[in-house]
């Protein structure tokens, strides 16, 4: 049985810890990872809790396969809390090595509540849990923190998940990083950790992790290993996700200069091909995984010589084309800095791109930037901007450390036109004007703008739909993607390895059953995926969001047609079509036209206890 069946509670205010059994009925219904994490968050929080309040639980959670030899799912964890960036549910996953250590220490879940009166780190050594002084770690990067902790505790194999200066200083785009390059990236989970004065979580686990059916499990893992050498993972093993640069550019879907253009004249220079030829020094991987995808890039010469970072498409895009920057050496340095301060690598680029757009349009001036020339394409300005944001230096650093939505509110005036976020979360690297299924999918995502909540860009990129418009039928595509991804993120399979599940949910059910011994079918998993999506939606409603009013697109996507000569010239999302898309999505979900799950739907999913929340909302909206 690969669940540890235990939850560790750590009260950071009192320093008290407690271990309670995991409710195995919940485990089956919500699987683990984000599903179970969000359920536990709901059960342990009060409505309307401030994300930075000690009352906001910060939940570290593993998956049912964590700690086993399962490729990609064996090494992982998720963090769930209320997001200070979006004000609704926040969740993110990371791979690497850290997650397995948590499971081996004997826990499926660690729930941090309260707030320490000084900066501490949690040292979890199997059954022994201590809060140790972390004052000497203040301002250190996650990687430096990791190294220092392992040295002072005297064990090389201890695993650490830590925040950087951005998290300590409550930047709403702060992330948590483990194993040097692996981030709990999105939604400002690092800032929640900072608000609790929790610098890091260090874990050493020495217990066995067992599976229910070792012989068959072993054979299944062997099959996955074989598949991982095949076509399903080719992209990740070769050029890596930066392959997307030229693919999206050809589709006029490579958002450039803060979603002004949809193609980038410098695409060749920052392509995956160029990256691999000139900068990638080694491709490594995570624990237990049979493929490898971490493209570690090193700048060999010039002003950024020696700069090293792990480069994926998203951060390459946000710090590159989106800022009009065509130099990979500067992009590698920008990503290194984002990791150094502990900033979400997607959000940071989108934030800087917004600042550049504001600067170019006179919305902010040299006076606001203390002389920083934030023109698109100025790589020195990008690097300096990240430093200021990471350290909250000056008005500029303070303002943009808040993320695009709040920065626009602080600046006022026209600034909102340049803030590319959904529900407060910065857009990832897909131009939603020319990928309109994605536009719908990103807008309804329960954690804000996100390509990983539904993969709704996929039908657009594959060409199975007319990607320049939204029409009836897209709602189903988005929903199916969401329900599947909810399962993937609750088992916490790496999305790069989703393709090796040749039989989709059937394979996943088999994986689950062999490891846990709990009977599971593809149908049950799919239902769990739907349950999780409805749960998240209701949580968001409880927290004051989660309706049609919030499922909206940024100004540029709706008002700024692609200007340049390309296949997407003149295209943008039309509000009327988008509204049809939303209604279509709500209808297939069995929600009201305002996007609220109906009591009937909740009952169908075994979520009766959530009905009062939606009832209250429906009544309040009727009054309005």
């Amino acid at each position: 049985m690969s669940y540890a069946k235990r939850i560790l509670y750590v009260d950071l205010t009192t320093g008290k810890t407690e271990v309670k059994p995991l409710d195995m009925k919940l485990a089956k219904e919500y699987i683990g990872g984000i599903g179970l994490g969000m359920k536990l968050w709901l059960d342990h929080s009060k409505a309307g809790v401030d994300p930075f309040s000690p009352e906001n639980p910060l939940i570290y959670i593993t998956g049912p396969l964590t700690g086993t030899m399962a490729p990609s799912a064996g090494n992982t964890y998720a963090v769930v809390s209320k997001s200070p960036l979006t004000g609704i549910i926040g969740e993110a996953k990371a791979h690497g090595f850290f997650g397995s250590e948590v499971k081996r220490a004997g826990y499926d879940v660690i729930i941090f509540t309260g707030k320490s009166d000084k900066l501490v780190y949690a040292w979890i050594d199997d059954d022994s849990v201590q809060l140790l002084d972390a004052e000497h770690l203040r301002g250190k990067s996650p990687a430096e923190t990791d190294e220092t902790i392992r040295e002072e505790l005297g064990d090389f194999y201890i695993r650490v998940s830590a925040i950087g200066e951005a998290g300590e200083k409550l930047s709403r785009i702060a992330c948590i990083i483990n194993d040097e390059y692996r981030a709990i990236g999105r939604g400002g989970m690092g800032a929640v950790m900072g608000s609790k004065n929790l610098k890091a979580v260090a874990v050493r686990g020495t217990n066995d992790v067992n599976v229910a059916n070792m012989d068959e499990f072993k054979e299944f893992v062997r099959t996955i290993h074989e598949r991982m050498k095949g076509p399903a993972t080719r992209k990740y093993r070769t050029l890596g996700t930066p392959e997307n640069v030229l693919v999206l550019n050809a589709l006029a879907a490579l958002a450039t200069r803060n979603f002004t253009n949809a193609t980038f004249e410098g695409a060749e220079k920052v392509s995956g091909e160029s990256l691999n030829e000139h900068y990638v020094k080694k491709i490594i991987g995570c624990a237990t995984c049979g493929m490898r995808c971490d493209h570690i890039a090193v700048v060999p010469e010039g002003e950024y010589k020696g700069s090293t970072s792990r480069v994926e498409f998203e951060c390459l895009w946000s710090c590159g084309p989106l800022c009009g920057i065509d130099r990979l050496d500067a992009i590698i340095e920008a990503i290194r800095l984002a990791d150094y301060y502990g900033l979400d690598g997607i959000s940071i680029g989108v934030v800087v791109a917004m600042a550049m757009d504001c600067y170019e349009n006179g919305v902010i001036t040299d006076k606001d930037t203390d002389g920083l020339k934030l023109n698109f394409g100025n790589h020195e300005a990008l690097v300096e901007a990240i430093k200021r944001i990471g350290t909250r230096t000056g008005w500029f650093g303070e303002t943009f450390a808040e993320g695009t939505k709040r920065a626009a509110e602080i600046i006022g005036g026209e600034a909102y036109k340049y803030a590319n976020h959904i529900k407060g979360m910065e857009l990832p690297g897909y131009d939603l004007r020319t990928l309109q299924t994605a536009a719908l999918g990103f807008s309804v995502s329960f954690r804000g703008a996100c390509h990983l909540r539904s993969g709704a860009y996929s039908p657009d990129v594959k060409g199975s739909v007319d990607r320049f418009k939204i029409e009836k039928g897209r709602g189903k595509l988005v929903m199916d993607g969401e329900d599947l991804y909810n399962v993937v993120d609750s088992l916490i399979l790496c999305k790069f390895s989703r393709g090796v599940m040749y039989d989709g949910l059937k394979d996943m059910a088999k994986y689950y059953e062999l490891a846990t011994g709990i009977p599971m079918t593809a149908e049950e998993l799919l239902l769990a995926g739907e349950r999780i999506n409805n749960l998240a939606r209701v949580i968001n409603i409880r927290e004051g969001g989660g309706t049609r009013e919030e499922d909206q697109l940024p100004w540029k996507i709706l008002n700024f047609p692609v200007p340049e000569e390309c296949v997407g010239k003149g295209v943008y999302v039309k509000q009327r079509e988008f509204d049809i898309g939303l209604s279509d999505y709500y209808e297939v979900r069995g929600w009201t036209d305002e996007g609220i799950p109906t009591p009937k739907k909740l009952k169908e999913l075994g979520l009766e206890d959530l009905i009062p929340i939606v009832d209250k909302k429906i009544k309040a909206m009727k009054k309005k």
Binding site: M69, D208, V211, M214, I283, G285, G290
Partner: protein
């Protein structure tokens, strides 16, 4: 006594190893029927992204671990070269652990006796599972032979092109 052409061991290639620890999981699965790297006879070391190597028993010709044991709990198999532990005699003192330059003999977390690579009766599980083919079940003379050929190829790469 095996000749140098027969005495095989698990050799790790730092150019291929990525520190993924699949070998550790495979080892504990094979020997202990569980997943637990602390019970693995091979341990992966990732110093940083670029420096990775899995380390297991080197089957030394004059094993210092055996020499260090005051209780005669260790001996080297004449047939294969692996270190055999007499668990009745071993009291977990760890002198062999200190004597080993490679960290390849360890104290078992449960039995509190020492243990090291036993080559899985000639079919090492780690070698079978390594996704990067970074582990080889081979002899030292073949390892040196391969390195030699590689070096010569490198030296004459220009003339080999033709």
């Amino acid at each position: 006594m095996p000749t140098i052409h027969e005495k095989k061991f698990v050799s790790g290639d730092p150019a291929k190893c990525i520190g993924c620890r699949v070998c550790e999981y495979a080892c504990s699965m094979k020997h202990e029927n569980t997943f637990n790297p602390t019970k693995s006879r091979i341990r992966a070391v990732r110093l940083n992204s670029f420096v990775n190597l899995a380390v297991s028993c080197r089957l030394c010709e004059e094993p210092p671990c055996v020499a260090a044991c005051p209780r005669d709990a260790l001996r080297q198999s004449e047939e294969t070269g692996i270190i055999l532990v007499d668990e009745d005699k071993c009291n977990g003192c760890g002198w062999c652990v200190e004597a080993c330059d490679y960290g390849a003999i360890q104290l078992h977390p449960e039995t509190k006796k020492v243990f090291s690579c036993d080559l899985c009766d000639g079919e090492p599980s780690c070698v079978e599972w390594c996704p990067e083919e970074a582990l080889d079940y081979t002899t030292k003379d073949i390892v040196s032979q391969k390195a030699r050929i590689g070096a010569v190829k490198k030296l004459f790469r220009e003339s080999l092109k033709g």
